[in-house]
Amino acid sequence: MSAELDIPKEFAETIVDPKAYAEEDHLQEVFTKLRADNPLGIARAEGFNPFWAITKFDDIQHVEKNNELFHNGDLATTLTTIDADKAVREMMGGSPHLVRSLVQMDNPDHRNYRMLTQNWFMPQNIKKLEVRIREIARTFVDRMADYGNECDFARDVAFLYPLHVIMEILGVPESDEPRMLKLTQELFGAADPDLNRTGEVSENTEEGVGSVAETVAEFMEYFNAITEDRRANPTDDLSSAIANGTINDEPLDHFAAMSYYIIAATAGHDTTSATTSGGIWALCENQDQFAKLKADPGLIPGLTEESIRWVTPVKHFMRSATADTELRGRKISKGDWMMLCYSSGNRDEEKFENPFKFNVERMPNKHVAMGYGAHVCLGQHLARMEMNIFFEELFARLESIELAGVAKRMEANFVCGPKSVPVRFKMA
């Protein structure tokens, strides 16, 4: 990796810094400068192995689409310090991963494991859930109304609605939902002292890895019991599909099965929560867009799509090259580590007109927030359906909404969204 291709040191430190994702404005300034001056440059941040920072939409899609040339699982799939990587490998017998879910897999495992639940997540199957999801959405809109005219939309509504949907899908009892939410926030908020297990800043250190590993172990213990139950009493739910799934006529590897539950039980709600609350936050700050939605509820799918682009709850994934190749005229060597900067791709001026404007009528709105290629988000149709239904139910009653305090994002460079969105509202 030639030093002349380096991005400025300060930029490299920013794009790995969880706090930068909480504040966001400076991060977006950095990405804007990188897209203009060095869209595919080498980042050398303190404590990390060097990696390519991929900031352009087209380059992100190219890497995602060529999933044999750019692997997920050979190196850490998220930004990991040298120390944390060493700690994980010591703990996991040389593997750089604490879990082994679809996002850590490459073919043929990725294809085989994805096919286990692919049909379950297809639009024609999840459509069967529409009536039930609408009931759940109405419950949460009612709950919001019960707060009177003020609530924390993130904590009181958005965290809880997608959580309830996915836990019902997984067969987790409602009484265990607070535990599942806490474990998810410990995992994705590992760098945020408000959310992580220790209450201290400890991510990406040996201590931080130990803390995340404890969270993973607690998840696994919980889902082991679900697996045993579904093996004894299979139903047509998602947990049964995982518990009784076979690959090449063999039951799933236990660790991979537990990892499957973990990704469903975490990414299956946290990203949707973040997008829902981030969309409402954006509407509070863009009352012209709120007025358009009130006048024409047919724009709600546009609100959902723009909220996904706007929030981009998954901030990055890492890939590594399996062979020497070239991208944007630059030589990528076999083994190079690459950061797909989705937030940057979704503000790419070459793809989006006025990208820093929240626009529910944006068309086209092809973004990379759900990924692209073989690893595209498995739950994307469910996520869109959940958000469309919730916004339909909410906008049928919501007359006005504005911020009632300072909204805050979590400190996280991987999965990141609002942790608090205080709002004042009127509802019919």
């Binding site: 997540f121 290629g373 073989a374 595209v376």
Partner: protein, 58 residues
């Protein structure tokens, strides 16, 4: 009488192209038949080639 409109589904991500609705985001007007979409067209959600779509009954 014209053939009934059909649905085509991406094998990778499940995106459904409905001929009756088209896909305005893709510049495909309602009523655009599958056969009239260029062969180099790709799934708008994941980039899977047109050849890896299946006709589905919904």
């Amino acid at each position: 009488m014209a053939d009934a409109f059909k649905n085509w589904q991406c094998r990778t991500c499940g995106y459904i192209y409905n001929e009756a609705d088209g896909d305005p985001m893709e510049g495909l007007a309602p009523g655009t038949r599958w056969a009239d979409i260029p062969e180099d067209w790709e799934c708008p959600l994941c980039g899977t080639p047109k050849s890896d779509f299946d006709m589905v009954e919904l």
